[in-house]
């Protein structure tokens, strides 16, 4: 083989390997096994198997469900995926961003009473970037001309 044929052979082979790897990631069963967090439904379906196991639970904080325990050292709230709801108990102060209706990921385990005992509480910001006081709208006015960008 000439050096050129070798090079182009290597090109073809590496493109094929790359495409196969990408195809596997996209359409293989990897997606089902690669789980960053469980939804409340998945957690409930797991039943007693989930008790004591180290789990990440993700979902939305149910509006109106946040209750501070006496002394403000821990709080209880509900996490939902709009199908099922799990009660979460978290020790310690939640991050500043924590609020009702926000996405959350808690790490911990579920106890026998079905309450998720969180040892770590993360919140996630969604893909919205909004100016405060949307009703005023005055901050947007100077940018009306670039609205279409």
């Amino acid at each position: 083989m000439s050096p050129e044929q070798k090079r182009r052979g290597a090109l073809l082979l590496s493109l094929m390997v790359g495409a196969a790897a990408l195809g596997f990631l996209m359409f293989g069963s990897l997606g089902d096994n690669l789980v960053y967090y469980w939804s409340p439904t998945e957690l409930i379906d797991a039943g007693t198997k989930a008790q004591g196991a180290s789990i990440r639970l993700g979902g939305m904080v149910v509006p109106g469900s946040v209750v501070w325990d006496e002394g403000g050292k821990s709080l209880t709230f509900q996490v939902t995926d709009n199908e099922n709801t799990v009660t979460v108990h978290n020790r310690g102060v939640p991050p500043e961003m924590f609020r009702e209706g926000i996405g959350t990921v808690v790490e911990g385990t579920i106890d026998r009473a079905g309450v998720f005992q969180a040892t770590r509480l993360l919140v996630s910001h969604n893909n919205e970037y909004r100016a405060p006081d949307q009703e005023d709208g005055h901050m947007d006015d100077p940018f009306k001309s670039v609205e279409g960008l």
């Binding site: 070798k6 990408l22 993700g58 961003m97 893909n127 909004r130 901050m139």
Partner: protein
């Protein structure tokens, strides 16, 4: 003086205008407050990093197709700029994650695949450093670049394919115009700066290529030393 410098200077200027509007004119984000302003740095960094690595992939294909050293020099430059921006991306993300998510790092799919991307391309650079022969260096690193590039679309689509803490795609409808404007300006400026970095780095790679051509490689295995035969020594000494 030269076009690359001019391009870079223009990029910095536009970027600073974008950052200035983002810092001093745009309002704080409704929930994140001033922390949300890191958007104007983070998104352009991600964009330029992935653009550079995509360019590296295209250069790798070109290098293997026609074997000209010019492709190799652009590939080397693009990978290096891509690695620098992607590493900065991880650092910025971490700084943003602490006050918003309440952690410096979590093994979320977007974060994990991004970390793999940085490490994979650092690996390609290490490989380049380890191969002495220019033609083999080009071929080996081009193949490695094509394989490493698999992770780049995975990083991009990770927020679609899997559950993440990282937010999903934002578009025109998700970002207020008052924030979108500085973001787009920063994006344009950072892109120009990134392109200037690639061009400047390519010149260095090309200069080295010319050096290598002028002074070709020593043979891979040096010829054994020919020592004088001791039996002839007396004769030689005369």
């Amino acid at each position: 003086m030269n076009k690359t410098l001019l391009l870079g200077a223009l990029g910095v200027l536009v970027m600073l205008v974008g950052h200035g509007i983002g810092l001093f004119y745009a309002p704080p984000e409704a929930y994140m407050g001033d922390t949300g302003r890191i958007l104007y740095v983070h998104v352009p960094t991600a964009w330029v990093g992935m653009l550079a690595l995509t360019a590296a992939f295209a250069m790798a294909v070109g290098a293997l197709w026609n074997g000209k050293a010019i492709w190799d020099s652009y590939m080397e430059a693009s990978i290096e700029v891509g690695v620098v921006f992607s590493a900065m991306l991880l650092a910025q993300g971490s700084i943003w994650a602490k006050p918003t998510w309440n952690t410096w790092w979590t093994w979320d799919p977007r974060l994990t695949t991004s970390a793999i991307m940085v490490v994979a391309f650092i690996g390609v650079l290490l490989l380049r450093g380890a191969v002495h022969s220019p033609s083999r260096r080009m071929a080996f690193s081009a193949v490695a670049t094509i394989i490493a590039f698999v992770d780049v679309p995975v990083v991009y689509f990770s927020v679609e394919w899997w559950e993440t803490t990282h937010q999903g795609f934002s578009g025109r409808d998700n970002v207020d115009a008052v924030m979108r404007f500085p973001l787009l300006v920063s994006l344009a400026g950072t892109t120009l700066l990134g392109l200037a970095f690639i061009k400047a780095r390519q010149r260095i790679a090309w200069a080295r290529h010319l050096e290598e051509e002028r002074a070709p490689d020593l043979p891979e295995t040096p010829a054994p030393l020919s020592l004088p035969d001791p039996s002839n020594q007396k004769e030689n000494l005369g």
